[in-house]
């Protein structure tokens, strides 16, 4: 479903701030793969997701989604294949617009937008139905401005928006990191439910190693812009947090894991 071949990205090339964020990255995801991505700060996890989504152009290599080479397509063109949820709950929704307007925008992801009415007759029922599955009570507030919702509600809404029109690839960039533990758990439960129901191919970046181990069928660990560890199926199931810490220690040349990774355990 997704193939990255020799993808590299260097930010601020030729300046003192030069930063090699991705270093000849190779990755292949089969359809239905649910991959968790871990690694220290600056390992290139978010950059990898951004390069797949086309936020910035890549320096070299190929990005293929469902057999289509999208390496040089801008972000808005790739959007037809990709659903995304960001770390910041403010980023995935339009605060000044109504819940149903946000959903209507999301339903048209990647489609041609014309001069027909922005929300058509039957859609509202569909949105209500989908929202009621979340059990947040949002189905009764369809015309409320999204800016009035809490961070958790907005993140749940973003999740629904990303998957309303089934994406070929779902990218979750630490989408529970900015939420309180209880809300994070709830959003994560919703995430698991949606992914398993729709059998979505997913890349989920997380700082929580326990989540990374318990969720999904494959785990990759990144360091300095490369994938340094890749476990799937039975191998992944046997992994423990201690194993990951050890792997991480080896990869980073004996340096101890950073604070956030420690706290994440």
């Amino acid at each position: 479903m997704l193939t990255l071949k020799n993808v590299s990205k260097t930010f601020n090339k030729g300046t003192v701030n030069e930063k090699k964020a991705l270093n000849c990255l190779n990755l292949h995801l089969e359809e239905g793969d649910f991959v968790t991505v871990i690694g220290g700060n600056g390992a290139g996890k978010s950059t990898m997701l951004n390069m797949i989504a086309g936020v910035n152009p890549i320096d070299c290599g190929i990005v293929e989604i469902d057999g289509v080479n999208v390496s040089r397509d801008p972000e808005y063109k790739r959007a037809r294949y990709i659903g995304r949820v960001f770390q910041d709950p403010m980023m995935g929704t339009a605060a000044g617009m109504q819940i149903e307007e946000n959903l209507a925008l999301a339903l048209r992801r990647g489609k041609r937008r014309g001069l027909s009415w922005g929300i058509r007759g039957g859609e509202r029922e569909f949105y209500k139905n989908e929202l009621s599955k979340f059990e947040l009570g949002l189905q009764n507030r369809m015309t409320a401005k999204v800016g009035l919702l809490s961070g958790g509600q907005r993140q749940a809404l973003t999740l629904l928006m990303a998957t309303l029109e089934k994406p070929k690839l779902l990218l979750l960039d630490e989408h529970t990191a900015a939420l309180d533990p209880k809300t994070a758990e709830k959003v994560l439960e919703l995430t698991k439910k949606i992914i398993s129901e729709q059998k979505l191919t997913t890349l989920m970046v997380t700082h929580n190693m326990r989540d990374a181990l318990s969720i999904g069928n494959r785990l990759i660990m990144m360091n300095e812009g490369s994938i340094i560890f890749d476990a799937s199926g039975e191998e992944k199931k046997k992994l423990t947090v201690e194993d990951l810490m050890k792997k991480f220690g080896e990869a980073s040349g004996g340096k101890f894991a950073n604070d956030r990774m420690m706290l994440g355990t």
Binding site: A53, P74, E75, Y76, K77, A79, R80, I82, R84, F86, M90, M91, G92, T93, A94, A95, G96, M97, E101, N102, A104, L105, A106, R108, R109, G110, K111, R113, G114, L115, S116, W117, G118, M161
Partner: protein, 306 residues
């Protein structure tokens, strides 16, 4: 007394004709979150094009208004391209277009003003057709055009493209992630906005019977002041069409205030200062009141004040 009433009626129709421009400013300032300074230039451009088309080319006044609108659309496209293709900050892109339009407008007219004394206008045509007085026909046509534009905008911003455009001003990152070319949306927004501004310039030119190189100076500030006044008047109404109506109403009230102030003997040249002060106060009040309530609420003893 009659003189004063006439003055107020004139101010009201001026306000509504300018209200079409305010609708344009509303699109960029409120929906796209861009302070588009092209407006000063494109308003004068609309007036100049309209005058030249009528006087030099004997064009029908309605067709001349269409040309004025089109010229505004083009001016908006220039700002839009500078902003979206070359990543020039919107405010600077607007200033560049505005400055260059000064020269363009002089080139179009060949001199700094053109009177429309011997020619027909939409207002003369309308009063001849219906037999109403010319001063009233300005008000009626103004209301008709403004109502049509409000309806048109209400329809457009409810469509799929229009929703995407509103969302672009709201959260650009999200809209791009949902497959919308946000640069194209900004370009369209600037073109529609300045099209309205050009149309308004043409209407004002025909109603005052001359086009002048200076007629757009300070237009953006008038537009912002009118939006602010409209929000104060109709702030509790939140639906989109009432906000559009509020923008036009704000413009009418602005010109009425202006008429009152002038009647009270204020120098007309001080009006721009007054407009700027109105806008500055309107922008400053919410910020200052938040700061003041924050610092008043501070309590070293750790007790929160209700």
């Amino acid at each position: 007394m009659d003189g004063i009433l006439m003055a107020f009626q004139g101010a009201l129709s001026q306000g509504i004709l300018w209200g079409v421009m305010v609708l344009g400013v509303y699109i960029t300032f409120k929906l796209l979150d861009i302070a588009d300074l092209t407006v000063d230039g494109s308003f004068a451009l609309g007036g100049c094009v309209c005058a030249v088309m009528i006087v030099n080319y004997n064009m029908d006044p309605i067709a001349a208004l269409l040309m004025a609108t089109l010229s505004g659309v083009l001016a908006g496209a220039v700002t839009g391209i500078l902003h979206t293709v070359f990543d020039i900050p919107a405010i600077l892109a607007g200033i560049l277009t505005q400055i260059s339009l000064w020269s363009v407008n002089l080139r179009i007219m060949g001199k700094s003003n053109i009177p429309l004394l011997q020619t027909s206008t939409v207002f003369i045509g309308f009063s001849e057709m219906t037999g109403i007085e010319q001063s009233e026909s300005a008000l009626i046509i103004g209301l008709l055009v403004a109502a049509c534009m409000v309806l048109l905008l209400y329809w457009f911003f409810g469509t799929e493209v229009g929703s995407a455009l509103r969302a672009t001003g709201n959260n650009e990152n999200m809209v791009r992630a949902l497959g919308v070319d946000t640069k194209f949306m900004k370009l369209i927004g600037l073109m529609i906005s300045n099209g309205l501004v050009g149309l308004s310039g043409g209407l004002v030119c025909q109603s005052q019977k001359y086009a002048d190189i200076n007629m757009g100076t300070g237009a953006i500030v008038i537009g912002l002041a009118a939006i602010v006044i409209g929000e104060v008047l109709m702030g509790r109404l939140t639906s989109f069409h009432s906000k559009l109506i509020a923008a036009v109403a704000g413009s009418a009230v602005y010109f009425l205030i202006r008429a009152v102030v002038l009647q009270l003997g204020m120098n007309a040249n001080d009006m721009k200062m007054l407009s700027a002060v109105i806008v500055a106060i309107a922008l400053a009040v919410p910020v200052m009141s938040a700061k003041i309530s924050q610092s008043r609420g501070y309590d070293p003893e750790g007790k929160e004040k209700g």
